[in-house]
């Protein structure tokens, strides 16, 4: 039996992203050396939206990158089927940059661990910060996001999905029993 | 000691016989065939009930390689002749490409001694046409015949020199000993791994064209026709070869021919997995060739079926396809594979026996091929219903290189009698003794 519950709608998502954009600017004291990198698949559109909001506020473009962390996953060879590889696109050096990593949901923290490893191969950033739309708890690694849209304590039997207009045609966050 | 075979269906093409009869063996020869032969009291007679079985003149495989002397790790006269009786063969001819080559009396006599000691099937050595099968100098045909060779052949190393072949054919004819020709133009076939055609193109293996075979068949027929002598063509495999032989026979050329079971049961598509157990010379051909071979068997163009039993060990076969030796074993599958022809209505049972017994005996001028009273009691008993699955590990042959591994066959030899003695049986024997 699956039960679907919408926990965030389009307006909620947008308000959270706006707040996160301001928090990023506040925390980093402006846009200087700032880059935004979205983690495939869920973080890409959110990173784009956040970057756009920052650009609108600061009237300057902020560099935007895309990161696929599959090759850095700690379970990449233990599954029988290989996940489809997405393209990584970080067309700039990360040396001395302030990197804001963006993902949709933080859960065990393993994805972020892989992402940080991957970022190190692109240079030596001054710092890495993490922005997520949803923090659903159950961390397995000592990782804490800097910017959170919504903390949503969930049970392990639930699935939290972020649907975005760019892909699913609708902005919403839903919880399902599985 | 007498042996009475009761109630079998006797098929003897030499006497046009196909009837359920009893057959009595006395002193190693066929003494009598009659509707009923009573068991006489007072005399020791072993009786075997063969109801439901086919009883035929002992099968003759006129083309085998026994590898002794020289390659005893592949086969010996002992194991080869044991494999023969297990396959229903009471007589086999073995080719000369041993080491040393059977090109002189001492090798011929050695093989015969080994056969005597083995005491299984009768073994008839075929000696080489040229010394060392080098294609340069003739061997001593008369001396070899005197020593016991029944035919001459450079099988495996074909005689390319047409002049030498002409001399061999004429000389052999004058001495009354047949020549068996392995027809292969070695310039055309050089480097070839398999039949040349779509499959070789797909696999990237160098092909052996059909022409490499039938150009030489045409040559040998031309030579035989010119000199008015006979020639026997070994292992015919192509449609064009069948056509050339058919037309020669029509003209009255004294040509006979044999094919092997794999040329009417398998095609070159079997090679797709690069299995070396399908590698032999001539190579497996295309479906059109298989059909033409069957047609040639049916209309009498092809006189005989011989296995071309060619044992090789894993040393020669468990290697890259290109490096693997040519040849497959056949003694223990030849009859079962050939019975497919009967099932497919290509041949009658009697015609099949003719090609596996009566005709080979005639071509090689050796005893056998008949159950006429007074002839050797060489008899093969066939159970047409017997189902079996080929497992090379259980073969009597030393080698395992069969293309039929795992194949389900119906029909096989169940009792092989040589000179009145049972040499192989999977019947419950000896029945009852009086």
């Amino acid at each position: 039996m699956t039960k679907k519950k919408v926990v965030m709608d389009a307006e909620g998502i947008d308000r959270s992203l706006t707040r996160i954009a301001y928090e990023i600017l506040e925390e980093n004291k402006g846009i200087r050396d700032l880059v935004v990198i979205g983690i495939r698949e869920g973080g890409v559109c959110l990173a784009e939206r956040i970057a756009k909001k920052i650009s609108n506020i600061e009237k300057t473009d902020v560099p935007l990158g895309i990161l696929d962390i599959t090759l850095y996953r700690d379970d990449v060879l233990s599954t029988a089927k290989k996940p489809k590889l997405g393209k990584t696109d970080i067309p700039f050096s990360l040396d001395n940059k302030k990197v804001v990593l963006v993902d949709d949901v933080i859960f065990t923290g393993r994805t972020i661990r892989a992402a940080m490893d991957a970022l190190m191969d692109f240079g030596r950033p001054t710092l890495i910060q993490l922005a997520v739309l949803i923090d659903r708890g159950h961390r397995e690694l000592p990782i804490r996001p800097n910017f959170v849209g919504n903390s949503l304590p969930s049970s392990l039997w639930e699935e939290v999905s972020v649907h975005l207009a760019e892909i699913e045609g609708i902005d919403e966050v839903v919880i399902e029993n599985i | 000691m007498r042996l009475l075979l009761k109630g079998g269906r006797i098929i003897d093409p030499s006497q046009n016989m196909d009837a359920t009869m009893d057959l009595l063996i006395e002193k190693g020869t066929v003494s009598r065939i009659a509707t009923t032969i009573p068991e006489r009291k007072g005399e020791k007679t072993a009786v075997i009930d063969l109801t439901g079985m086919i009883l035929t003149p002992g099968l003759i495989d006129m083309h085998t390689h026994l590898r002794e002397p020289g390659h005893e790790y592949k086969e010996t006269v002992q194991t080869g002749s044991e494999a023969a009786v297990a396959g229903g063969f009471t007589s086999i001819a073995c080719m000369a490409n041993t080491e040393p080559i059977n090109d002189n009396r001492s090798v011929t006599e050695f093989i015969l001694r080994q056969a005597q000691a083995a005491g299984m099937a009768r073994v008839y050595p075929v000696a080489a046409v040229s010394k060392g099968e080098q294609g340069k100098f003739l061997t001593e045909f008369a001396d070899l015949k005197d020593a016991g060779a029944v035919a001459l052949s450079d099988d495996g190393n074909p005689v390319m020199d047409s002049r030498l072949m002409r001399n061999a054919l004429e000389y052999a004819s004058s001495l009354g000993i047949p020549i068996i020709s392995h027809c292969e133009d070695t310039n055309l076939s050089a480097g070839g791994q398999m039949n040349e055609g779509y499959t070789s193109t797909e696999l990237g293996l160098q092909g052996i064209p059909n022409t490499a075979e039938h150009i030489m068949i045409a040559r040998d027929i031309a030579l035989a026709e010119f000199s008015n002598v006979s020639v026997h063509i070994a292992h015919v495999s192509t449609a064009e070869s069948v056509r050339i032989i058919r037309e020669a026979k029509k003209r009255g050329v004294m040509v006979t021919a044999e094919t092997a079971p794999h040329y009417f049961t398998l095609t070159d598509e079997a090679l797709k997995e690069f299995s070396t157990n399908y590698k032999m010379y001539p190579p497996l051909r295309k479906n059109e060739d298989v059909e033409a071979i069957k047609e040639g068997l049916k209309d009498g163009t092809i006189d005989a079926i011989a296995s071309d039993h060619a044992p090789h060990s894993s040393i020669e076969k468990d290697v890259e396809f290109e490096y693997a030796a040519n040849g497959i074993i056949g003694l223990e599958t030849s009859l079962s594979a050939s019975l497919i022809l009967v099932k497919e209505n290509v041949l009658s049972l009697s015609q099949l026996i003719e090609k596996m017994s009566t005709n080979p005996s005639g071509i090689l001028k050796i005893p056998g091929g008949t159950l006429k009273a007074g002839s050797n009691a060489d008899i093969t008993v066939i159970d047409l219903q017997k189902k079996w699955i080929v497992k090379a590990d259980t073969f009597r042959s030393k080698s395992r290189n069969t293309p039929f591994e795992g194949r389900k066959f119906r029909g096989r030899a169940v009792l092989t009698i040589v000179g009145g003695n049972v040499k192989y049986s999977i019947l419950s024997l000896p029945g009852r003794k009086i």
Binding site: L71, A80, L85, T88, A118, D121, F122 | S200, L205, F321
Partner: protein, 307 residues
């Protein structure tokens, strides 16, 4: 789409989806080679052995770099194979390698079907065929298709001319399989002695004159001619071969305006390809080499682990 093969032996029985999946994966991996740190940790602890029975610089180096960029341990073995000089048998070599627990074995051999022996024998190792006799060279064809797809956005419907020694070419066979599966139209041309029997049944057209084969071609693939074949009367002279089958500027003009010229390398300048063309704007020969690394990374990635 799932990639569930144990080995990569040949393209003959591949599906269009499978080939696209491999090419997609390779495209994603291509970026790694442009980074400052050209390495990802994916195949850490995996051992990749290349077992080459034929000399090769390009393919072996390409595989080795691919393995190393994925953090696998790469070991090269150069073996000598000959039916005359009998060394260790292939099966013994395979069992010895197996005992050292490698994960992937990349094999090149002059005998067609040799990698298939390894693939059958070794249950826990993946075998990649890096060229077996005149049979298949799947990784070359895949990198060729990757280059075509990258440059043209598709393969379906393109006209590809394949010129040279078709009979002895494993590159030709793999490309005929691969390209026809992907929907390309393949036109062949080469000396009659080098055109294998019944090749038209593989879904290609065969042309006597090179001009016919390359007319309106989107892609021209030149095959390497082995000059030793002259000894077996496979062609009368290099001069005559070049006269009939060399890709010259005049001949290139007969193809489409944006034609791509490809060659699996190493090239014989002035024999099968005019230097002006090899170094000219149509040539994607060096892009093929670059893509070779990404493509081979993709195959190592897809085969490693999770069996």
């Amino acid at each position: 789409m799932k990639f569930e093969r144990k080995d990569i032996l040949g393209l003959k029985d591949y599906s269009r989806d499978e080939i696209n999946f491999i090419l997609d994966t390779a495209e994603s991996l291509k970026e790694i080679s442009t980074r400052k740190i050209k390495k990802v940790p994916t195949l850490r602890g995996k051992t990749v052995i290349s077992l080459f029975y034929e000399p090769s610089t390009r393919t072996r180096t390409s595989f080795e770099i691919a393995a190393k960029r994925l953090s696998a341990d790469a070991v090269n073995i150069t073996a000598s194979a000959s039916s005359v000089v009998k060394g260790e048998t292939l099966i013994d070599t395979a069992r010895n390698l197996e005992s050292m627990n490698p994960d992937i074995i990349i094999m090149r051999h002059s005998a067609a079907g040799a990698p298939h022996i390894l693939a059958r024998l070794l249950k826990h190792q993946s075998i990649i065929n890096a060229g077996d006799g005149a049979h298949e060279h799947p990784t070359q064809s895949l990198l060729d298709m990757m280059t075509i797809r990258e440059k043209r956005g598709k393969i379906d419907g393109l006209r590809v001319a394949l010129i040279g020694d078709i009979a002895h070419s494993r590159v030709a066979r793999s490309n005929i399989y691969g390209l026809t599966i992907m929907g390309a139209e393949v036109a062949l041309c080469g000396p009659a002695m080098m055109m294998p029997r019944e090749i038209d049944k593989m879904g290609v057209t065969v042309h006597n004159r090179m001009e016919e084969a390359i007319r309106d071609a989107d892609i021209i693939m030149m095959l390497r001619i082995q000059l030793e074949r002259q000894k077996n009367n496979m062609f009368p002279s290099v001069r005559e071969y070049a006269k009939l089958y060399c890709l010259t500027p005049d001949r290139v003009k007969m193809a489409k305006k944006n034609v791509l010229v490809m060659h699996p390398g190493p090239i014989n300048r002035g024999v099968e390809i005019d230097p002006q063309i090899a170094d000219g704007p149509y040539s994607v020969i060096l892009e093929q080499v670059t893509n070779g690394v990404a493509l081979r990374m993709a195959l190592l990635y897809l085969l490693a682990g999770g069996k």
